[in-house]
């Protein structure tokens, strides 16, 4: 993909059409995009609408317009503003699901390795590594003051004597520091097969090739144990 001097992608109308068609072909699309009365109740209740230039009503209206240009216009930063809380889906009188549409568009953005997706997900790599290589997402040793300075001085509590404090949690599965719980290797191996078969590893390879290499090394190690 080409970019202008401001980093904005330059794409053909054909490509925009291709992206829109890819969204419409998703088996969830028709379930998520129904009639829109433009009532705006979704946007009125939308949490990120208060802080970002983001409107679930516009997501639906752009899809209903059938104009690839308008849908393409949401593919960069716009889709990443959504909180995925599904307030819009719950309150829509027509049973539309703008949050679900966002999920479809994000999937396309990641699957195709758009620069905007790579940029947004760059700081996310630590989480991706934990989840895809070890089977759960948040470990106690990730809660460090230098990563979460805005969480206040008490956050340091978790980084001092952590193995001892984890041992004092009266659930044996939790008495580890490098994982949320001590995932059994057989469960990890099954997860790897699922990720391979479902194309999840391939997505990570597209969006972050260096991270993919690290994950594959860990996967190989666990499999060979």
């Amino acid at each position: 993909m080409e970019y202008d001097e401001n980093g904005v992608s330059i794409v053909s109308n054909e490509f925009k059409k291709e992206i829109f068609e890819e969204a419409k072909k998703d088996f969830r699309y028709e379930e998520y995009v129904k009639g829109c009365l433009n009532c705006g109740v979704c946007t009125g209740g939308c949490p990120p609408h208060r802080f970002f230039d983001f409107s679930p009503r516009m997501v639906l209206q752009n899809c209903k317009s059938n104009d690839p240009e308008l849908v393409w216009g949401m593919m960069d930063e716009y889709v990443w503003a959504c909180f995925q809380c599904f307030t819009c889906a719950m309150i829509c009188p027509f049973l539309n699901n703008p949050g679900g549409v966002i999920a479809i568009l994000r999937e396309i953005s990641v699957r195709r390795g758009f620069e905007s997706a790579k940029k947004v997900l760059k700081p996310y790599s630590r989480v991706l590594l934990k989840l895809t290589a070890y089977g759960n997402q948040l470990s106690p040793d990730m809660i460090q003051p230098d990563f979460f300075p805005d969480w206040g001085p008490h956050i340091g509590y978790a980084s001092q004597d952590l193995p001892l404090k984890r041992k004092a949690i009266p659930m044996p599965t939790l008495q580890v520091t490098n994982l949320a719980w001590d995932v059994a290797p057989e469960a990890m191996k099954e997860l790897y097969t699922i990720f391979e078969e479902a194309g999840v590893f391939k997505i990570i390879e597209v969006v972050d090739p260096a991270l993919y290499e690290i994950i594959q090394d860990i996967v190989d190690d666990v499999r060979s144990e």
């Binding site: 949490p47 990120p48 208060r50 802080f51 909180f83 995925q84 809380c85 599904f86 307030t87 889906a89 719950m90 999920a103 994000r106 999937e107 990641v110 997900l121 700081p123 996310y124 989480v127 991706l128 989840l131 089977g135 759960n136 997402q137 948040l138 470990s139 106690p140 990730m142 805005d150 969480w151 206040g152 008490h154 956050i155 509590y157 978790a158 041992k167 004092a168 949690i169 009266p170 044996p172 599965t173 939790l174 008495q175 994982l179 949320a180 719980w181 995932v183 059994a184 057989e186 469960a187 099954e190 997860l191 097969t193 699922i194 078969e197 479902a198 194309g199 999840v200 997505i203 969006v207």
Partner: protein, 398 residues
């Protein structure tokens, strides 16, 4: 029934002799699930008498069976990693009631937090992970009890997608065969807060402290009641059946006051991606849309949650608010942790409030709990462990 509500303390306790349950016509997933089972397309984990189920009414009036025993605990990444007192409090209650359960390592994350944050998965991946974990419960003869609200929302959605889409079922079945498992779905997707809700009167019998002067504000989790809302519990005796009843129900059963506030329906600001990589949004949301209204409108003593991400987001983001003149503070904990405190669970060893950021000590003092004694005992316990002592666990794990 004419009811006048004079202040923010009355709404949760409003009862109604009629609950309007008409509205959307939705496909009955539960009937279709059983049809697929009859055709041999899927296997179903049924809720049997052995699970000692208790029924609760859902949004559109369907009765949902909540199994109360023979449970397989399906863990939450954030709870286990960051709020350990959350699952510990739940298991502490289960031990009190003699509930049969297994807490084990042979499970993976639902992976949905990552999906909603980064989109680096897809419906096949999410559904296969869900079925993999369901099958593990199935082979043990147990019913999956889901700890995390995002897992709960994701699994409800995946269950619906699997029931409605043969192609997805075929693909997931193919993957399950590769890992030696089968396509299994539970009869109901059940969240731990639903277990707490149907057990609330039993829980209240264990109450040790008077909570009549404690003002709670409930933050309901979006992925509990906004994702597949028709599968959530509503009760005509709680908010007159107009809001989901879980969490509020147990607070009321314990005799605490439950106050309304104007942003009850708002999310916490977690945002899945935002809490990790764009926290300015999360913390602004926390302070402006949740904590300030809870304190200013309701004078809340404690914010009661029902999910992992909400508990973390609301608890951790209050300290930084001071830099911008936000002086309002309120301790945050899950319904089951608050209930455990009320029933005499140890503040440090069981409820594990020492991991929380916003000060919870004033709440303990108002409840009449001697947290200093608990702290001293915990410190002594840590020293015991340091010198090679054996941990006091809630269960034995082979």
């Amino acid at each position: 029934m004419a009811i006048e509500i004079r202040n923010r303390l009355g709404l949760a306790d409003v009862k109604s002799d009629f609950r309007h349950i008409a509205g959307r016509k939705i496909e009955n997933i539960h009937e279709e699930l059983l049809e697929l089972e009859a055709k041999g397309e899927i296997k179903v984990i049924h809720i049997t008498d052995a699970n000692k189920p208790i029924e609760a009414e859902t949004l559109f009036g369907r009765k949902k069976k909540i199994p109360t025993t023979k449970l397989w605990h399906h863990k939450s990444c954030g709870q286990c990693g960051n709020i350990p007192g959350y699952p510990v409090s739940l298991l502490w209650f289960m031990n009190k009631f003699g509930t049969e359960y297994i807490d084990e390592r042979n499970q993976t994350s639902c992976t949905a937090w990552n999906y909603h944050g980064s989109a680096t998965s897809n419906p096949v991946g999410l559904a296969a992970v869900a079925v993999r974990n369901f099958h593990r419960a199935y082979e043990l003869g147990l019913f999956p009890l889901i700890h995390c609200a995002t897992s709960f929302g994701d699994y409800k959605e995946m269950r619906n997608l699997l029931v409605e889409n043969k192609e997805l079922r075929d693909e997931v079945r193919r993957i399950m065969h590769k890992i030696g498992r089968e396509l299994v779905l539970p009869e109901e997707i059940v969240h731990y807060s639903e277990w707490v809700h149907v057990m609330r009167f039993e829980i209240a019998k264990l109450k040790k402290y008077d909570l009549s002067n404690i003002i709670t504000t409930v933050h309901p989790a979006c992925h509990c009641y906004k994702m597949i809302p028709e599968d959530c519990i509503y009760d005509k005796n709680i908010y007159a059946g107009k809001r989901t009843a879980v969490s509020t129900g147990v607070a009321l059963a314990l005799g605490a006051q439950v106050a309304d506030y104007s942003t009850w329906y708002d999310c916490c600001g977690f945002g899945f991606r935002h809490i990790l990589t764009e926290r300015e949004a999360s913390r602004s949301f926390v302070m402006d849309r949740k904590i300030r209204p809870m304190v200013r409108e309701a004078n809340s003593d404690v914010c009661i949650t029902q999910d992992t991400g909400c508990t973390t987001t609301l608890d951790k983001n209050q300290w930084i608010g001071k830099a911008m003149g936000y002086t309002e503070q309120v301790p945050v904990m899950a319904d089951v942790m608050f209930a455990a405190l009320a029933c005499g669970a140890d503040v440090y060893k069981i409820v594990q409030l020492q991991w929380h950021t916003t000060d919870w000590r004033p709440l303990c003092e108002k409840m009449g709990i001697d947290w200093k004694k608990s702290e001293e005992e915990y410190k002594a316990y840590l020293e015991q462990l340091r010198s090679g002592g054996k941990p006091e666990n809630l269960y034995e794990y082979a």
